[in-house]
Symmetry: C2
Subunit: 396 residues, 2 copies
């Protein structure tokens, strides 16, 4: 993989020029990739995970999800054709022709696999994580598993922009039939007439959502199961589902704290700001959290924002978490159980770091260095030289 | 932790200026730090690990090693005094007043601990790794455990610079009574009269090494145990120990593949270049590998260097691995069992990444952003803005 590539982690160069010992990112090894259930095209066979592993120089072995084996096979064929046409090394991409759990297990424990990316349920993700940690040589698993994506509506925002929030939240909860991992699954607000009006407004808006099929029958059955377990809290059910619970119930109920995968959200009624902070403090790790507030509420919201920043990978003000942009600042990850390692992201340019490990080349003659570390910066990449980031050649 | 700090990972900023959503590195949480046995001052209570965790914004809880509890206590007091004098938050640094295994276990499984750094034996490191992976919320453990630090002497180098290599290798093996984690523990060469002469020269040089005490009795007893197990291969024993084995014996012997902690090294005699490559291929993950070669041997050494680059965190030509510099390009890590996660280093400025996780702030008003992400770059840190690294303010 000796070609120039704009690697995310800048190569470092040692301060002492007489014995330059620069470092570069090297591929971690063969990457195993488990396909998401809810994405059959984006973030699937040819998605960001595959791209970031290939960009790090890792061959990729993809295990298709049982929900879309044929789509996976079609896209896999296209990737293999593209790899051949661009003269990538043979075997750089492989699609496992088996959607079973056993095939997944075999992939994670195979000695050649050195990193694993997974998106799916907490149960399956944790099982793969445990398998990887139990190997003779443990390997990292970036498992993206479960997120409630809490959304807090501060009283001022509820007063001033209620109609707008009803429309936006309805769209965010029902986008893609609620099958986004960043769907807002719980909404915290302060109990009172405004919140009651908000709940009524949301129920009305949900009632107008047209029915749509979810990706496959298994997901629909699981949603029905989740709704069955939480039926005491369902305020409205149609093509979308609105649940309402008190802060006390949320705090003590295991069932309410589980992600409901599908077009459903749970409003949690808090008695006051103190209880709202208390609920925020008890939340597990999340991919995102969102706060709706007015300019007057900046100062009073600081304690809440500080708590939420410790819980999430992405914190949003007056927006919706469902949109995920592929860009340098994207952090699609978060503390457990949102993911298995909060230091990484599966979306955005930083996703390459899941699959790259640094190698330092000490006292190497120029001729034996990899191209990224030659004195002449032919790759035009950012490099850290004697403590300064630069695109210059060394020794100029 | 709102003060300006030159964070290693540049903050990213979103390409769309109308809804800027930059990211910054946030502390992973409280860091647990297990002290190394072999360093009572450097890389100990006030060492690089503590510094990098504090730099990431993490409070640090240090568990002293039973080998040097009083030194740890003295340095710990100095750190606490310094923290108070510089108005760091109370509790930012804590030294556990208990050197027992039980105290270590309690530290790793404590819910407040979010990352662990460890240096020590493979057995202890793996036990801590397993504990951390088995938590309800698994946490990352950067465990640095075991490394043979192979050194290969190519035939030309052995012919041309034998006397120099004997002196250098003797110094590297016996530096600090062989208690460096980067001590060259195996030396690969091609069988023949030159290698025999080299072995004799090394034995002579080892004979002139003055006796010295190791750090404590436990280490000395373990060294005696290791040498007992490998006694069939000991060619010379004095204050330093030279072992010699055939490539065949090395390949089949578990005992020879274990790190001998102390002033000892094992020469592995290979029949030819093919066998040397075969032995290199069978090596486990290592912190370092070193190759001695002449300019004439650049081309013939490429296959060997490619194999070694896949095994190590740091690759050295015509030098010695024992010196570890604290600099941006340092990679003090490597594939398992050298460390538990080859994507991180415990030495150098990148060590901060063990303890930092990114948080993206989407659509935040300037007033609520952390200082590193304000439009005005008062911290004068490198930031990635619209895809470009810059120290400028935003909007100029």
């Amino acid at each position: 993989m000796g070609r120039c590539a704009d690697r995310h982690r800048p190569a470092g160069a040692q301060a002492r020029a007489e014995a330059g010992s620069p470092a570069r990112a090297a591929p971690a090894g063969v990457a195993g990739r488990f396909l998401r259930e809810q994405f059959s095209l984006a973030f699937s066979v040819a998605g960001g995970d595959t791209a970031s592993a290939l960009a790090a120089g890792c061959p990729v072995v993809v295990k298709p999800h049982p929900g879309h084996p044929r789509t996976s096979s079609l896209v896999g064929g296209a990737v293999q054709k593209a790899a051949a046409e661009t003269s990538m090394p043979e075997g750089v991409f492989h699609l496992v022709n088996d959607v079973s759990v056993e095939a997944g297990t075999a992939l994670v424990v195979h000695p050649a696999i050195k990193a694993v990316g997974f998106t799916g349920s907490l149960q399956a993700g944790r099982a793969l994580f445990n398998l990887a940690a139990g190997r003779p040589d443990p390997i990292p698993v970036f498992a993206e598993m479960s997120s409630l994506n809490p959304l807090v509506v501060m009283p001022g925002a509820l007063r001033e922009r209620q109609a707008e929030i009803v429309v936006g939240l309805t769209g965010s909860v029902t986008l893609g039939v609620g099958q986004f991992c960043t769907k807002p699954g719980v909404v915290l607000g302060l109990r009172g007439p405004e919140l009651e009006r908000f709940e009524t407004g949301l129920a009305d808006a949900f009632a107008n959502v047209p029915a749509a099929r979810m990706l496959h029958r298994g997901i629909e059955e699981r949603l029905a199961g989740s709704l069955g377990k939480t039926q005491d809290f369902i305020r409205f059910s149609g093509a979308a589902h609105l649940l309402v619970a008190s802060a006390e119930d949320f705090k003590t109920s295991e069932v309410l704290r589980e992600e409901i995968f599908g077009p459903a959200t749970l409003i949690i009624e808090c008695a006051d700001q103190t209880q709202l902070l208390d609920i925020a403090q008890t939340l597990d790790g999340q991919l995102t959290a969102t706060v709706y507030l007015t300019a007057d509420e900046h100062e009073t919201s600081r304690p809440l924002l500080e708590i939420l920043a410790q819980k999430v990978g992405r914190l949003i003000i007056n927006g919706y978490p469902t949109g995920v942009e592929v860009c340098p600042s994207m952090q699609h990850g978060g503390p457990y159980p949102a993911t298995a390692d909060s230091r990484f992201t599966s979306v955005g340019t930083a996703a390459i770091q899941q699959f790259a490990r640094p190698v330092c080349y000490q006292s190497f003659p120029e001729a034996l260095l990899p191209p990224e570390l030659h004195n002449a910066n032919r790759c035009r990449i950012w490099r850290q030289i004697n403590g300064k980031l630069s695109k210059e050649d060394v020794g100029q």
